[in-house]
Symmetry: C2
Subunit: 237 residues, 2 copies
DNA sequence: ACCTTAACTTGATCCTAGTCAACTTAAAGA
DNA sequence: TCTTTAAGTTGACTAGGATCAAGTTAAGGT
């Protein structure tokens, strides 16, 4: 979410262009991503099937609901949201994805995407054709193991989300959301107490099943209570 | 949920005792469960690692939150609920599991269970030691494929649940819950319009983030509107 | 069959968060 | 730069569902 530096956007873009060619073995996300636990040779083989497209910009689609499922996507920089569009034009936000997170795992079984994925903040994304990943994971047991772990992690994450929405109060939900965000940022080596939100109040509200106005009021209240400082999209816990 | 026949409970038990020894290849759930798409020989190999314990009764635990993860569990008959216990004694119901459904997929990554699984209705359950399943899936590519599908299916299911909870109105939630139940029963060859609920109003409310009283009122209202007939736990759509 | 306890239902009241509306601020485009 | 539009904030009002309370029904145990 807007991490590397809000003001220096041009510089950021240049960095992305360089970073995008980085092989898995040199990628800083290796501990969060597919290569975890693989031998250097196996990482090279994985590297061979990963496609690195050029940076995507706000509003670009990784895929749209209903499209045939072909690849998984890994966020390298920037941020992406997934959401289920409803026929009437509304949408339900399903998740916000930070660097190191994998998108598309829900589509393996159905073979088509049931949600759309859209870039929030200029993002570099690795594309991993699933059929090739599956073939490789037959040959590389530790990759299979890692795949099971990743899929399971996603299930556990969804479960936690259900738990969060189980909490009734709007206050609890927003607090839990901010804390979860903070933890995810820390794991990526970014400040867990000082960050920019890449999503709008509307999107936060939609995600947490709250009205925009409620989200706005809660930010104000939290600030009044001294829990955080908020300036537009800049959050300071 | 209470399917084969509410009144003839003793008969039901006898059937369960017999059914529990049925090998995977003769199991009626084969199309829903792990063996899907496997060759007969591979089903036999899978069969070799599946443990069939004797029937469990209402209130029995498959596992408790915090326990080490060793096995996946497949419901053969009866029903099971999973829930996250909170330290203060409360709990959040995470799911109700019908025959053919697999429990424990969220624990693979963490290697311990973050929820508890408890029998609602006298149940036969297959236990599949995960480490052995993983070994076997290295040797049997189609089993690996099926595992990816199952894990993905679980993610898609959780996603749909998030979507359901995104719907704000209590009415929508209960209706969606009953319809989803109905569909799952149909896929198992049971009546989608005439069934017994194996869970209490309290558990339904907890699952849908509604108060018990609201659930009760909604059942009454739906009946008044002629959408269904409800007698205690017996539902007729 | 009885008693005890838990599950469920129904009614009355309250409160949280949603809705409606007006205004402010910031970003994007000509 | 100015204009236009989208995003965010704040207030007033409302409604849906939670909570509190009391009563009913059914199940489980002896």
């Amino acid at each position: 979410m807007n991490f590397p530096g809000h003001p220096a956007l041009q510089e950021h873009k240049v960095i992305s262009f360089e970073a995008i060619r980085v092989a898995c073995k040199n990628c800083t996300l290796t501990a969060l991503c597919l290569p975890m636990g693989l031998t250097p040779e196996d990482v090279d083989r994985l590297d061979g099937i990963v496609r690195r497209n050029r940076p995507l910009h706000r509003g670009d689609f990784l895929f749209r609901a209903g499209e045939r499922f072909r690849s998984l996507y890994v966020v390298k920089t920037g941020s992406v949201k997934t959401y289920a569009p409803s026929p009437e034009g509304g949408e339900q936000v399903l998740g916000f994805h930070l660097p190191g997170e994998i998108i598309g795992l829900d589509a393996i079984e159905r073979e088509f995407h049931l949600c759309s994925a859209r870039v929030l903040e200029t993002a570099a994304v690795c594309e991993v054709p699933f059929s090739r990943l599956e073939e490789l994971s037959i040959l590389v047991p530790s990759l299979q193991h890692q795949m099971y772990r990743l899929l399971s992690k996603e299930i556990a994450h969804d479960t936690e989300m259900l738990l969060l929405l189980g909490k009734k109060s709007a206050e609890d939900r927003l607090a839990a959301f901010l804390l979860s965000l903070s933890q995810r940022l820390r794991r990526r080596g970014l400040s867990p107490t000082d960050f920019y939100l890449s999503m709008s109040r509307h999107e936060i509200g939609n995600y947490l099943s709250l009205a925009v106005e409620t989200v706005s009021r809660l930010f104000t209240r939290f600030q009044d209570e001294g829990l955080l400082k908020v300036d537009r999209k800049h959050i300071l816990l």
